[in-house]
Symmetry: C2
């Protein structure tokens, strides 16, 4: 297993100095055509490629950006990564990924690993546990060390950094308004417990939309399920809870679910109860993933444009990385949601 060839080896082999080789390969006019050709030919033959690590050390920049997300087996996050990767690569940046698995400790450890010189900046979405504990010291420390951060989707306002967010409140309104337009009179929501801001905002949007149309919100039409039920293992429990909701409130003719899984599960349960979709019950979800598209019936849902979010986040970060000035204002960019109508609504 031979090692990669270096400038030094080329220099020794051709009996010139290291500096000369470097200049020749960078096509400096300081070097004569003759030697340049010789050196370049030699380098090409041995497939010389400069060592990025050495360059990173010298230039004090790594040309890679770090992504830190709670999980990867998740359509939305994958889409965001795709977006980030696209603009990053276009600008000559690599992308390195850390997974927190929704754990505070893993988030901290991963940040420290990456912040130790491996990357030029972070794009991240906060883990649930961190959100719960409200301990944000690792973010502030990283920022204080001069490393720019861009947060997306799950953000907290306390931290001074760029943010790219989804207008969850407005998105939820769009969804509920659609149901109202379609003459639903009793609209339920299936949402999560409150500590993740995203779920809270969607719930609030639901309430505001109803109020705006002078429909009263009934607490028994608001089903807050435990987050853990989103994991695949607890799908039975989730089904039971939804079933109970529908049985206890047979008047429900519209459901807004704060994610895909809740939505398709609702449709599944409803069908088992003999309800026709969308005739007896209309359903709108959140997040435009594979489930929404390929469920039967296909799901009307609020798309967050994950790829776009990634693109914008990467753009912001790279801009900040490459900017010289050291005290720019922080920006918060809102990516509009879009209601994608399919078969689960009339």
């Amino acid at each position: 297993m031979k090692r990669k060839i270096t400038l030094k080896q080329i220099a020794k082999e051709l009996d010139v100095s290291i500096g000369t080789v470097s200049k020749a390969l960078r096509n400096s006019k300081e070097i004569s055509e003759e030697t340049k050709e010789k050196i370049q030919a030699f380098a090409k033959f041995y497939n010389y490629k400069p060592n990025n690590i050495a360059l990173s050390l010298k230039n004090r920049k790594t040309k890679t950006i770090g992504i830190l997300i709670p999980e990867i087996v998740h359509h939305f996050f994958s889409k965001v990564i795709q977006g980030i990767e696209q603009v990053a690569n276009k600008k000559g940046y690599n992308v390195i990924i850390g997974l927190s698995n929704e754990s505070f400790d893993k988030e901290v450890i991963n940040m420290e690993m990456l912040a130790g010189g491996s990357i030029d900046g972070f794009i991240l979405s906060i883990s649930k546990e961190t959100l719960l504990q409200q301990d944000y010291h690792h973010f502030n420390e990283t920022i204080n060390q001069g490393m720019p951060i861009v947060m997306f989707d799950r953000v907290v306002s306390d931290i001074r950094c760029d943010k790219v967010i989804v207008d969850d409140l407005e998105g939820a309104k769009k969804a509920v308004n659609k149901l109202i337009e379609n003459h639903c009179k009793h609209i339920a929501i299936i949402t999560t417990k409150d500590y993740v801001s995203v779920g809270r905002l969607r719930t609030q949007g639901y309430i505001e939309a109803l109020n705006a149309h002078e429909m009263h919100t009934q607490s028994d039409l608001i089903l807050k399920v435990d987050d853990k039920l989103a994991s695949e293992d607890y799908i039975d429990v989730l089904e039971e809870e939804i079933k109970a909701l529908l049985l206890m409130n047979p008047e429900i003719d519209g459901v807004f679910a704060v994610n895909e899984l809740y939505a398709v599960t609702t449709m599944k349960v409803a069908r088992k109860l003999g309800k026709k979709i969308p005739d007896d019950l209309q359903v709108v979800g959140f997040t435009d993933g594979v489930l929404s598209r390929h469920a039967t019936p296909s799901l009307t849902t609020v798309s967050q444009h994950g790829k776009k979010i990634g693109e914008v986040a990467a753009g912001l970060l790279i801009e900040k990385i490459e900017s010289e000035s050291l005290d720019e204002p922080v920006r918060t960019i809102v990516i509009e949601t879009e209601l994608i109508e399919r078969e689960s609504t009339k």
Copy 2:
């Protein structure tokens, strides 16, 4: 935006040499307790963290492994990454990701970027375009430069490296055997064109399973759809082709689809044609993703254990990276598939 503190700065501040600081922080017994305490306190206060880049340069290893996959918005690949990440992190490695988007050029460019010192080894799955062009020079060059590679899922035998593969042939047999056991008499397959080995193997498994039971294979029961139809945009065309298949051969009572999407689309089309699943038609898919689990009816499918594949691949790679000997044999590890029975079969 202050920069990170370095050994040199600490040394100057405390009026000792750089070496002393380094030793003190690594708790060398060469340094007196007194100075050690002083230096360590100072370093802690200023939150000193060694610069990974400098360490990488010195140690000639980066402690990060590169993943190169065709796409990330894909349940199987996400699962593999999850597995890789888990064992990599456990062993102190980071993970950096490159996406080829099924393009040969992007694959080559990404490899060159990463191979330029950023990583210690590769885990990759070959892009379709590369498979088509059969140009594997970039893999061989990378290997020749002393960088270990582990391939998974989509592999080619020409390249001398470790491989982790799915037993596609056996998996397909399991699926088809299940249909035969369930008394299907006319079993169709929905597969892709032949150039990706994975699809070919699954088709072959289908044929062998039928032959083993002395059922004749009819070419009109083998639907080879263009790969591009797997992309979301061409879903209509895909539906049309499947519809034609089912209409032309109404005797079909079992379908084996080589991926999730084909399977759920088949179920959707069948239902539109008034067929009951699994009573009139039984369907088995390949890949255990969200679609399989949450489709209605839920899909019987062949699981490839993506996470396991990632874990094994990472294990092999790290072992090779950390091994001293430079001419070990290459290994090919087959991960068993598992038939997961759900509602789409009897």
